[in-house]
Structure formats: structure tokens, C-alpha cells
Amino acid sequence: MPSKRKILQTALIALIYLAIWEAVSLLVGKELLLPSPLSTLSRLAVLLTQGETWFYAGLTLLRIMTGYAVGVLLGVLLAVLTARSAFAEALLSPLRAIVKASPVTSFILLALLWLSSDMVPLVISVLMVVPMVWTATAEAILQTDPRLVEMGRLYGLTRWQIVKKVFVPSVLPQFLAACTTSLGFAWKSGVAAEIIALPKQSIGYMLYQSKLRIETPDLFAWTLLIVALSMLLEWLLVRGMRRIRHDA
């Protein structure tokens, strides 16, 4: 449980940001350009009472988190493959470099050509997560102390036991760090993909509609919801990872 002091500090920081936002909003003087915190938060409150908000947020979460899970799994598989085989590394590393270097919008537009709009955010999440998890996990596998592996073999451990007792604990810190970092990227890129691909039932679509109708408070409210969901996801992930680290 966070201490009382910590809660007070967090509340104070939130108040400082709200005060700055309010001051800038008053300076600008146009709700259309920069809505005040009050109008944004009241709009957010209204959105949160509507069932469709939760439904759309749920579908957005489902798309992006499915992509994230697939990306993590694929990243680990590729890491194992390329760490074990120099040929696989030589064969696949150009693909990793291309995915890393290309702008995400290029992939979104390409994915739009090939896939249904519902699938685009999912695929984009996969593409964001795979290179990060792949690179970090492969590096960690290669950095695993070969003397420990040798010792495990001499002490009669099976291949699976060596993976479980030597490789997994050795790789876990870098893997979990990559999972945390890539979650933020998957989320941001997934929502960006929704804004471009416009699957009908999604946060991205609602965000785009707010922009189209120049409903700036709605735009801000949806953005706040996206940020809140992202923070919630990261919090859940970090908690889950702490448990995994503790159990490992």
C-alpha cells in the first residue's frame, strides 16, 4: 500500500499540472483550441457513463493486447531461433532492421491495403513488439554465462532443466524490461493505427470523429482515457512481472 505521504505527493503533482493546464487554457481563451480541465473532465465523466465508451475501449484493448501477446510470443521464438543459429540470425536480422527503421505509418498504410480495418491495430502492435522483445531476449540468451550451462550439463541436468534453471532466470530481467517498454509502444501505435484504419468500434474511431466534428473537449477526454488505460495496463504488467520475478 502506498504511504499517506506518497498519496499526498501524487495529489499535489496532479494539482500542479491541472493548475498549469487551467492557466494556459485561460490564456488561450478558446475552448476550441485548448479546453479547460473542467470541461475536459466533465466530458470524460459523461463518456464514462456511456456503455459504448466501455465497449469501444474493451475492443481497442482486445485488439492491441492480442497483438501484444502475439508479438511477445513471436519475439521470444525468434530470439531463441536467432540466438541458436547464426544462419537464422543472418537471414532474419535484415527483417528486424527494416521493421525497426520504418515509420509506423508506412506499416499502417500497407496493412490497410492488405487487411480489414479491425486487424490493422493488432498487426501494428505485433510489429512494434516483436523487434524489441526479439532483440532484448536474444541478447540476454547470448549473454547467459556459458560456464553455468556447462556446469548444468556436467551435473546431469536435462536440456529442459538447463533452460528452466539457467537460461530463464538469466534472460528474465531483460525480457521483462522489453515487455514493459514495448507495451507502451504497442498501445500508442495501436491507437494510431485505429485513427488511420478507423475500425468502427474503437477508441481511435471516436478520437477521429471528435477531431472531424471539432469537438476538442471530446478529443481531450478520449486522449485522457487512452493515457489512463495505458497507465493501468503498465501498472498491471509491472505487478504481474514482480510476481513472475519473485516466483522464478
Binding site: R147, G152, L157
Partner: protein
């Protein structure tokens, strides 16, 4: 099974540098055999060849295959994320590991991680792991590094009490003497 390990005309080079050249020896599989030689003479290389961790460039080694070696390397090779007990139980079980650790004076430190142990304690965990494993031969490469005199004696007694052949690399006469009677093989 052979009652002797025969090393016949073994040569081994690394990067063009010959570490062992046409080396032959008979290592008895009973009691203690001390492997000696100057620094860089190839003791550790021979140790690794005997364990099958390296293959000779020439010659052959007979009498090791099919045996279960319990090894203490020059380095402790402890899993940093595992407790003293988990480390010692690698390849055996917790009951044997607890007994071995207690025998070596670490009965109160079972749950400590390697980073919480002193150099000497880590060394004793590595020795306990080898003792708990209950192998057919005890391979020891400088096993007493970092131990004080009393713990050296306790460790040597525990090794002798295992009643299996011991092959030990040490450059220290006093450490070799801890094993009582022993055969000596010199690599020059």
C-alpha cells in the same frame, strides 16, 4: 569399467598454441591423485579433457566415459539467482544438499543467495554441490581457494568421506597434504 584412466599421447592446442603436447599418464581410480605442474602447464586443459568438455587434437583418453563426475571448478559457478541450498541441490536433492552444506558448516546459510555469501562460503557451496551429487569421481580444480585452514581441513575430510576417487589440481603442497596419502602426476 576400467580401474584406471589412461591418457595416451594427448595433444591439445588453442589458437595455434600447444597447451598439451603428446602427454600420457595413468590416473588410478582409487584414492586421491594430485595433478601438479607450473602455471600454464595445461592442468586445467587436461581437467577439461578428462571431463569431456574439450576434445583432444590427438591421442585418446580411456576410462572416463560412463562415469558420473562430480566437479568443483576453479570458479564457483553458482547460479546467482538461486539460494545456497538450491545451488547445492543442483543435480541431486535438497536432503543431500542440506547434509553436505551442514557438513561444511553452512547449515545456517541455506537460504542465502551467492551475493550474500563470502568468497569462502561460496567455495564451500560449490564443494557441497559436488558432494551432494554423489558422482563416481570427484574432479577438483583448486578446490580450497578462499578457504581458511580449518575449512580446508573440514572440506578435505568431507571429500575423503565420500569414498570415491578424487582427482585434484592444486599447486599448494600443504593443500595436497590435507588428503593424506596421494598419487602425484606432474605436467611439465
Amino acid at each position: 569399467m576400467h580401474d584406471m584412466i589412461s591418457v595416451k599421447n594427448v595433444s591439445k592446442s588453442f589458437g595455434g598454441h600447444a597447451v598439451l603436447l603428446d602427454f600420457s599418464a595413468e590416473i588410478p581410480l582409487c584414492g586421491v591423485t594430485v595433478l601438479r605442474g607450473a602455471s600454464g602447464a595445461g592442468k586445467t586443459t587436461l581437467f577439461r579433457l578428462l571431463l569431456g568438455l574439450e576434445q583432444p587434437d590427438a591421442g585418446e583418453i580411456i576410462g572416463v566415459s560412463g562415469r558420473k563426475p562430480a566437479v568443483v571448478f576453479q570458479e564457483d559457478r553458482l547460479l546467482p539467482w538461486a539460494s545456497a541450498l538450491e545451488n547445492a541441490a543442483l543435480g541431486s536433492d535438497e536432503a543431500r544438499a542440506t547434509a553436505a552444506l551442514t557438513q561444511l558448516g553452512l547449515g545456517e546459510s541455506l537460504c542465502l543467495l551467492p551475493r550474500e555469501l563470502s568468497g569462502g562460503m561460496k567455495r564451500r557451496v560449490a564443494i557441497a554441490r559436488a558432494l551432494a551429487y554423489q558422482g563416481d569421481i570427484l574432479f577438483l580444480d583448486e578446490p580450497f581457494t578462499g578457504l581458511d585452514e580449518e575449512n580446508k581441513r573440514i572440506a578435505a575430510d568431507a571429500m575423503l568421506a565420500a569414498h570415491i576417487p578424487v582427482l585434484v589440481i592444486t599447486h599448494d603442497d600443504a593443500e595436497a597434504a590435507l588428503f593424506g596419502d596421494y598419487c602425484e602426476i606432474v605436467i611439465d
